[in-house]
Amino acid sequence: MSEQVSIYDQIEIEDFTFDEELQTFSYPCPCGDKFQISLGDLEDGENIAVCPSCSLMVEVIFEKEDLQDFIDQVS
């Protein structure tokens, strides 16, 4: 990463909920909203899920091959 971002926590991909329709992973944020990241972003190598209601961010822990099941689900 070129600039240092402040990460609140690290969360394994298995703990995220996957929404097939939106093709998005989500996980509870301590503000009551949810951290989100799209399947496409993960495929592109992004690994930071953000919360739409606050500044907190979590690092998604995953391996590239973990994504295949989800790619199969939506295709």
């Binding site: 926590d9 301590p30 009551g32 909203d33 209601s53 606050c54 500044s55 907190l56």
Partner: protein, 381 residues
């Protein structure tokens, strides 16, 4: 004596019960709909406040439950079809009006309430066994009144249910005979070691949690992905047992802490840290300090502490309330001018968020998901 509840913090789902869904950065009175009228008097003392992602339950001393916030998953023990998807102020749960409760707990989108005769009622949504109703039940939306009872005959036979603590996806209760039972998400081994068995990753029904040598559980706390149990073994030695995901070396740090049954008051958790409080009201914190969740050095001497999702609260002399930790939604109040920039989300000091006025006494504080609640008793005037 009239009681008021004051609230501040995150409010996207009307969980503060103040009538709208705007965040609050200073304490404002929650409102109560009683017999069709909106008022600020609670109508009795609140003994417990339980907070989910965007919903709040109040347990009154007389055993009644009041609710506010999101009911989109029927998590307020009220059918979303028959009532509404949000309770904008606190109101009585009509479907439970004839029942009395002694304990309550909220997870992310579900709630657990224990009746005085040890029935466990659950409502809402939980895809990881959170409802404790057996595989594959994930929702109570379809139930007539939006809730169901967990069949758990063991409770009454074993001394009744004495304590409940929940995290966002799992719940643990303690019975009168000392046993602890848990259910819900166990993917991190926060209830018990899965031993690599896939089946144990979700615990669909209340299950006895066992400890080596039948040690007695003195207290326990549930964080988001881990639990900590304080045990006394048969030789009288105090042990600390950590279960679950340990991103912050909490297990090792706790292991080195000397604890004594006579001086331990309780153990509490935020989502990613634990806090051991002793009877002399000192606090030792372990875990994530990304936003100063570890209790800062204080020049105040609290009589009571409570933890929210990533912030802490304390009361001093029944008059003042202070907050520390992550306060982005106003749950830690606002920085005073000399301390930090207004938009700094971290409170690395104890910030005063309330001072009782003439004839008032701060009775209690409660923390939720970036929410803070202050209960105040007022002398009749």
């Amino acid at each position: 004596m009239p009681y008021n509840l004051l609230a501040l913090g995150s409010n996207g789902g009307y969980q503060l019960g103040v009538g709208d869904n705007k965040d609050r950065h200073s304490a404002v009175p929650s409102e109560f709909e009683i017999n069709g009228e909106i008022q600020r008097n609670i109508g009795g003392e609140v003994v417990q406040v339980a907070c989910g992602g965007e919903h709040t339950l109040l347990l009154l001393a007389d055993g009644h439950l009041l609710a506010s916030g999101s009911n989109e998953q029927s998590q307020l023990f009220s059918s979303v079809r028959k009532t509404s998807d949000h309770f904008k102020v606190f109101r009585t749960i009509e479907s439970l009006a004839d029942r009395k409760f002694k304990l309550v707990s909220c997870g992310w989108e579900y709630s657990v309430a224990i009746t005085t005769d040890d029935k466990i009622l659950v409502s809402g949504y939980g895809p990881n066994g959170e409802l404790g109703l057996g595989k594959p039940i994930m929702s109570t939306k379809g139930a007539d009144d939006g809730y169901t009872a967990i069949p758990f005959e063991e409770a009454a036979k074993r001394g009744g249910i004495k304590k409940i603590k929940g995290s966002i996806h799992s719940t643990i209760i303690q019975l009168g005979n000392g046993e602890v039972w848990g259910w819900g998400n166990n993917k991190k081994g926060q209830l018990f070691d899965t031993d690599g068995e896939l089946e144990s990753r979700i615990v669909w029904k209340p299950t006895l949690l066992e400890f080596r040598n039948h040690a007695k559980v003195l207290d326990f706390a549930m964080a988001r992905d881990f639990s900590v149990f304080i045990l006394r073994d048969q030789a009288g030695v105090i042990r600390k047992v950590f279960r679950g995901k340990d991103n912050y070396d909490i297990g090792d740090d706790l292991h080195d802490v000397r604890l004594d049954e006579d001086t331990l008051e309780n153990i509490q958790a935020m989502w990613t840290s634990v806090h051991v409080i002793t009877k002399d009201k000192s606090i030792r914190s372990f875990g994530n300090n990304s936003h100063s969740q570890i209790s800062p050095r204080r020049d105040v001497h609290p009589d009571k502490y409570r933890m929210g999702s990533e912030h802490g609260l304390c009361i001093v002399d029944e008059r003042k309330v202070f907050a520390w930790g992550w306060g982005e939604h106003g749950n830690c109040g606002e920085h005073s001018d000399d301390k930090k920039e207004k938009d700094d989300v971290t409170f690395d000091y104890c910030n005063e968020i309330y001072e009782a006025g003439e004839g008032e006494r701060v009775v209690n504080v409660f923390g939720g998901c970036a929410t803070s609640f202050i209960e105040v008793e007022r002398k009749n005037s």
